[in-house]
């Protein structure tokens, strides 16, 4: 009788331990994978790469410098800034600016920008701030040597942090 009682206590003990271990594993998985991965740096670089591929290829500009402006850049480069369907975000989470600089004298020939520039001053100031990237490449435009500076910024803090 006493032995049977002992076995019942032990079974109950093992079930309790089993549930504690299973619960702990579930908690660990949720707490590790439940937090988002920050992909804004990748997004900023991909956008910069897309703009660079659009603006120039084979070492030369794809368009006349006078042909590109802030009004037509989205259409020319097939860029859609309104891609998020959460948090009621529209096109205010992305910003980019392209600067065309004369290689000879470092003068700015023209600048083209789109998106929300309000968050740019907070770029790269920590995890809860927007992530921005700036890259420059060298290209020829009608025999003129031009440095193309591409600046991209992604906010989307709530989704990535």
């Amino acid at each position: 009788m006493n032995k049977r009682a002992n076995e019942q206590v032990m079974s109950l003990y093992w079930f309790v331990i089993l549930f504690i271990v299973a619960g702990a594993i579930v908690f660990m998985v949720v707490s590790f994978y439940g937090k988002p991965f920050d992909v804004r740096s990748v997004e900023a670089n991909l956008l910069a790469d897309h703009i660079a591929n659009c603006v120039a290829s084979g070492g030369e500009m794809n368009f006349e410098l006078s042909e590109i402006n802030s009004e037509n850049i989205l259409e020319l480069c097939e860029i859609n800034l309104n891609v998020e369907e959460i948090y009621n975000w529209e096109d205010d989470q992305i910003y980019f600016k392209i600067g065309f600089i004369d290689y000879e004298n470092n003068n700015i020939i023209s600048e083209v920008e789109q998106g929300n520039s309000n968050f740019v001053e907070f770029c790269n100031l920590g995890k809860t701030n927007p992530v921005c990237a700036e890259k420059t490449f060298f290209v020829l435009s009608d025999e003129k040597e031009v440095l193309v500076k591409v600046f991209t910024g992604i906010r989307k803090t709530e989704k990535n942090v």
């Binding site: 707490s31 590790f32 910069a48 660079a52 070492g59 030369e60 420059t136």
Partner: protein
């Protein structure tokens, strides 16, 4: 005697339970800490090639130095003169700055046999032994006579 044995068994089970809970608590703490950003949860992609360098190389080849197109010049003499080297420094220096080290000179352009790419040479950049680790950008442009033009950005051994 029988009661003493029972107490001893009870203490063993109690100790085992404490150890199990302790191990679980540590695991939960580590996973929560890493989930809350203890580990770097930023996603990075390292392709070994940088698009902006590749684009700049094309522009560099098409541009001129002392009224001679750089591609024609370096292809004919398989070397880089001062004018071409200075221009390369201007164009590529800032692209490599801070990528592998804070040294602006952590890149080189030069020539080597098509398949012995780890030892790149040119008059302007000298001898540059490309390092497999700490590499930011590495690209090859085949030329005549089994030679190739290389651009390397990363830690280098002189």
């Amino acid at each position: 005697m029988y009661k003493k044995a029972q107490v001893s068994t009870g203490v063993s089970w109690f100790t085992a339970t404490i150890i199990i809970i302790f191990i679980l608590a540590i695991s939960i703490y580590i996973s929560s800490w890493s989930g809350l950003g203890g580990f770097d949860r930023e996603v990075k992609i390292d392709s070994g090639k940088e698009l902006f360098v590749t684009k700049s190389v094309s522009g560099y080849f098409l541009s001129s130095c002392e009224n001679v197109q750089i591609y024609n010049s370096i292809e004919s003499k398989l070397d880089i003169n001062n004018c071409e080297g200075n221009k390369a420094n201007d164009i590529f220096g800032s692209l490599f700055l801070g990528k592998v080290s804070e040294d602006k000179n952590n890149f080189c352009l030069g020539f080597a046999e098509e398949n012995s790419f780890n030892f790149i040479k040119s008059s302007y950049f000298g001898n540059c032994r490309a390092s497999l680790g700490g590499r930011f950008h590495f690209d090859k442009y085949g030329l005549d006579n089994d030679k190739a033009f290389y651009i390397y950005g990363g830690l280098k051994n002189e």
